[in-house]
Structure formats: structure tokens, C-alpha cells
């Protein structure tokens, strides 16, 4: 596969703080690359470096050109805190940004594609809801039908249904050959969308790989979390063949498959142990991030609970 962008040993420092510390990565044409990390990890700085809007040490190429020399007709960018002129309507905004390119998409079809209804298309941007505003911003990034799209937290502030419709759009874009580089606070987002994920922590790219591979390698075992103040002995769990870790008002049993849950409930009931709830969790990308960085990821995350039993 041919590389759409490549970065080697990219360093960016602000005084004594290293925002990017020898970051190297490559993204293939048509690939969705997800970059995750908490606030301050360096995600936005890396996007700026890749799009040529900040100067860095190291080597970066986008379609074999330095980012500040690339034909801007070929790239689309959605900066993280982007707010377009607030008194214009979405239709006017698409016409405005489209007017800066050789060829551009028609407002009506583009706004429909990002899920903005026709009524909202003719209201001033400042009167739209947070989710509608972000959809307009995504549409602006798509206005020139770019070959590579940089999206810095594209679904922030969008409701779950809206997020899913944008995810479908991003998947369709990738299927049609557009390369996507997206940063996210949402592990679910990158797990669902990205072909490969990069974990960024304190300016360092800790690892890169397909989400499933990262989870398999670093996510650990599935586990059952029992909310109870009882001890493992009182619950009769010392007899079963699992690893049981007591925590504050919780017992965490590792390596539990869904088929084992009913047996454990029966064991608890037989022992007469009281518990408030049971939650079974598959290992997630978040677990892999924690294992690799030693830091709990505090971004947006849907529950990965596969089964929850309340007593």
C-alpha cells in the first residue's frame, strides 16, 4: 500500500515542554488512522504539524510533499476548536469555503450528507445547536472533496445518533479511497472506525496497531465486576478456578467467559452473599491504553458492558 503521509522523529517543544517527542508514523492511502490520547497529549499539535500549520523538527511528507508545500486542493482539515463566521448560514459557509477551491461540492448535497436538515441549512450558524454546528464544520472540511482528511475531534458535542451517522460517512469516504487521520477523545470512535490506532501520551506515540490487535495484546482478560462489600471467602469464590481481586466494595474476577456468569451467580447465591450488581467487561482499547501508558484514559467512552445483572 502506498503511504499518504509519513512523519519521522517529529519534535515540537514549547519552552521546556515537549509537546511532541520523536513521533514517527505513516498512514496508507484509503486508511483511517485514529489518534487517541487525553487532553495535552499532543494530538492537536501533531495534526498542526502534519497540516503544516506549525513548524516542527523532523521530517513530514503528505503525498510526498512537505505539508506546507502540498497542493491544498488535495487536503481537508477540521481544526479542533474551529468556529466559522457565526452570522453566515451553513449554505453560505459551504459556498464561501468552496469558493476558495478549484472545484467544490454543492451545499445542499454536502449538508445532507453530514445529516443537516434543509431548514437548518438556511439558519445563521450561531443559532444552530452544538451538534449541528459540528456537522457544518465537518461539511466545510469536505467541501473540496479532499484526498486526505484531517479531523481533530470531529464528533465532539454531537449526540450519539449524530456521531453514528458521521461514522458511517467517514467509513464511506474511506471506502471510496479518502485517507482519514482523525483524533478523538472517544475510544469507541477509533475502535469502530480506525484501521489502525496510535496511542499518544505526553507527546510520545506509545504504540500503533489495529484496535483488535492492541486489545488482544495489551487489553488483558475479560472480567466480571461484582459490587459487594463481602470478601471472596464469604462469597464462596475461593473454591472456583478464577483469579479474584478484591477492591473497595468490589470483587473483580478475571478470565470469566459469558458462559461462566451463571455458575458464579449460583455460587454467590449458594454462599448467601449479597451483592448489588454484576458487570461483565470485555477487554477494551481503554484497557490497552492503561496497560501501555499507565494512565487511565479519561475521554468519552460508551460502556463496554456486555452483560449487566442487577440483583
Amino acid at each position: 500500500m502506498t503511504s499518504a503521509l509519513a512523519a519521522r522523529d517529529v519534535i515540537k517543544s514549547y519552552d521546556s515542554v515537549k509537546a511532541l517527542d520523536s513521533v514517527s508514523l505513516s498512514v496508507n492511502i484509503g486508511e483511517i488512522f485514529g489518534l487517541v490520547g487525553p487532553n495535552g497529549a499532543g494530538k492537536t499539535t501533531l495534526v498542526r504539524a502534519l497540516t503544516g500549520t506549525t513548524s516542527v523538527e523532523g521530517a513530514i511528507s503528505v503525498f510526498d510533499s512537505p505539508p506546507d508545500e502540498i497542493d491544498s486542493e488535495r487536503i481537508g482539515v477540521l481544526p479542533q476548536s474551529f468556529r466559522p463566521p457565526s452570522r453566515l448560514t451553513p449554505t453560505e459557509l459551504i459556498n464561501y469555503y468552496g469558493g476558495l477551491y478549484e472545484q467544490s461540492r454543492q451545499p445542499a448535497s454536502l449538508l445532507a450528507e453530514v445529516g443537516l436538515d434543509t431548514e437548518a441549512a438556511d439558519q445563521q450558524y450561531e443559532t444552530l445547536s452544538g451538534g449541528q454546528k459540528r456537522r457544518v464544520c465537518v461539511a466545510i472540511a469536505l467541501v473540496n472533496d479532499p484526498e486526505i482528511l484531517f479531523l481533530d475531534e470531529p464528533t465532539t458535542g454531537i449526540d450519539p445518533a449524530g456521531r453514528r451517522s458521521l461514522w458511517s460517512l467517514f467509513e464511506e469516504l474511506a471506502t471510496s479511497g479518502t485517507t482519514l487521520f482523525l483524533t478523538s477523545h472517544s475510544m469507541d470512535e477509533v475502535e469502530r472506525l480506525a484501521d489502525r490506532v496510535g496511542f499518544l501520551s505526553e507527546g510520545k506515540l506509545v504504540t500503533v496497531g489495529p484496535p483488535s490487535s492492541l486489545i488482544d495484546t495489551h487489553g488483558g482478560d475479560s472480567r466480571l465486576i461484582i459490587d459487594t462489600s463481602e470478601t471472596p471467602e464469604r462469597c464462596g469464590l475461593t473454591e472456583v478456578d478464577y483469579r479474584v481481586k478484591p477492591q473497595s466494595n468490589q470483587l473483580i474476577i478475571e478470565g470469566v467467559s459469558p458462559q461462566d456468569i451463571s455458575d458464579i451467580i449460583m455460587t454467590l447465591n449458594s454462599a448467601g452473599a449479597s451483592f448489588e450488581s454484576l458487570v461483565w467487561k470485555q477487554p477494551s482499547l481503554e484497557d490497552a491504553y492503561l496497560a501501555l501508558t499507565g494512565k487511565r484514559f479519561e475521554g468519552v467512552s460508551d460502556q463496554h458492558d456486555q452483560e449487566s445483572v442487577n440483583q
Binding site: T54, G98, G99
Partner: protein, 253 residues
């Protein structure tokens, strides 16, 4: 895609954005009008004694126009730059084919249009209120180039202020701090003869001086300087202002 079409797209967006800021539209026209009313009608010019101003009313027409030529571009472009920075718009624009010069040119043209309209209204108001007669042909021929060049010059300065100031509040404070001394020390309302002799050479340092002298040469029959030399200076300064202003437009961070 040519410079023309990109500048046109930016111009249309900036024009619509301005028209929908009703408060800004109102005060853009109200501020110079109130200056004319206060200076021209309330204080009045009575060279024989009694009024604050020592010159005939026609002398101050250039000063009235200087108010809009100076204040509006400084504050509008400066605050537009600050607003763009706060909304990461320059970061976005830096990844489009739009060049910094085209952005500033479009903003300048919006200001030229706004201030052109304001100037016409201001001249009409001045004539009505101060009972001044103006040579129509000269007005048509020579006032517009001064207005256009002056506006472009101060749009460039506004861009520099927007780059230096880190917020819209900072832009307003900085543009007022620059504009107020310039307004009163550029042969607008205070004739050089009323200033200390040692200070008079400093008037030559103000770019607004040449705008005022040029417009006065057109609108006031007893003007002491010519049109063409001042126009050449103002146009040169406008070119420099546009260039430096474009360089000051932030690319990203």
C-alpha cells in the same frame, strides 16, 4: 481558481458577516455622523471668534472623512483578525488555497465599500449642516482615491494590531490608543499653527496627515498643499500597509 475568485469568495462572506452585525453597521455610520453634528453644528466654526475651531467650515471636511478612514479599518480589521484567531479560522484558511494577501485585500475591499458609503453620507451631512460648498467634479475625481488608499493603508495597520493584540478587547484598546493621537495630530481638526513649533515636524510622521492634506486639497479652496504629491504618498503607504498587513495575518498558531 484565480486570485480574483478567491478574493471574491472572501469578500462576499466578509460583507454578509458585516451586514448582519447590526450594531456594528449602526455605529459605523452613527459615529462619524455624530462627530459632524457635534463639531459642525454644536461647536461650529467661527473664525472671527466665539467658536472652538479657527478655520472656515470647509477646512474640517477632510477631518470628518479622516475619522471614518482611520477608525473603522483599524477597529474592524483588528477585531476581525482577533475573532479569526479565536475561532481557529486562520488555521483552517492556512490549509486552503487562499493567500494572506487575498484575505486582507478582501477585508480591505469590504472596508472600502463601507467607508465609501459612509463618506458619501458624511459629505452630504457636512454640506447640509455646515453650509459648505464643495466642487463636485473634484470630489468625484480625487476624493475616492484618497478614501480607497487611506482605507487600505489603515486596514494593513489594523491587521498588524490584530496580530499583536491577543484578544478583541486588546485590539480595541490598542486601536484607540493609536487612533486618537493620530486623529488630532494629523492636521485634521487642529491646524499646525496651533501646535508648538517644535512639534510640527512630527505631523509629517503620521500617515493620516497626507490623507487629510490630499482630501483638503480637493475639498477646501484655500488648501496649502497639492493633490497629486499627497496622493502619491498615500498610495505608496497603502501599498506598504497592505504588504506588511498581509505578512502580519497569522498563518496558524
Amino acid at each position: 481558481m484565480s486570485t480574483l475568485t478567491r478574493t471574491q469568495a472572501e469578500f462576499i462572506a466578509a460583507w454578509h458577516a458585516f451586514l448582519r452585525r447590526r450594531t456594528a453597521v449602526f455605529f459605523t455610520f452613527f459615529f462619524p455622523a455624530i462627530i459632524v453634528i457635534i463639531f459642525g453644528a454644536l461647536i461650529q466654526t467661527q473664525p472671527t471668534g466665539g467658536g472652538l475651531f479657527t478655520e472656515p467650515s470647509g477646512y474640517y471636511i477632510a477631518g470628518y472623512l479622516a475619522v471614518v478612514i482611520l477608525f473603522t479599518p483599524l477597529s474592524r480589521v483588528g477585531s476581525t483578525v482577533a475573532r479569526h484567531r479565536e475561532g481557529s479560522r486562520f488555521e483552517k484558511l492556512a490549509t486552503t488555497p487562499l493567500r494572506r494577501m487575498e484575505w486582507l485585500l478582501a477585508q480591505s475591499l469590504v472596508n472600502v465599500l463601507i467607508i465609501g458609503i459612509a463618506s458619501v453620507l458624511l459629505l452630504a451631512l457636512s454640506i447640509v449642516i455646515t453650509d459648505t460648498t464643495l466642487p463636485a467634479i473634484s470630489l468625484l475625481l480625487f476624493v475616492p482615491p484618497f478614501v480607497v488608499s487611506g482605507v487600505i493603508l489603515f486596514c494593513g495597520v489594523g491587521s498588524i494590531i490584530g496580530r499583536i493584540a491577543d484578544s478583541q478587547d486588546g485590539v480595541i484598546a490598542a486601536s484607540n490608543a493609536l487612533a486618537l493621537p493620530l486623529l488630532f495630530l494629523s492636521e485634521t481638526f487642529i491646524p499646525p499653527a496651533l501646535l508648538p513649533r517644535w512639534f510640527r515636524p512630527l505631523l509629517e510622521l503620521s500617515p493620516l496627515t497626507y490623507v487629510v492634506r490630499g482630501i483638503r486639497a480637493v475639498t477646501y479652496t484655500d488648501a496649502s498643499t497639492g493633490v497629486i504629491p499627497n496622493l502619491a504618498i498615500v498610495m505608496t503607504l497603502a501599498g506598504g500597509g497592505l504588504l506588511l498587513g498581509a505578512l502580519a495575518v497569522p498563518q496558524a498558531e
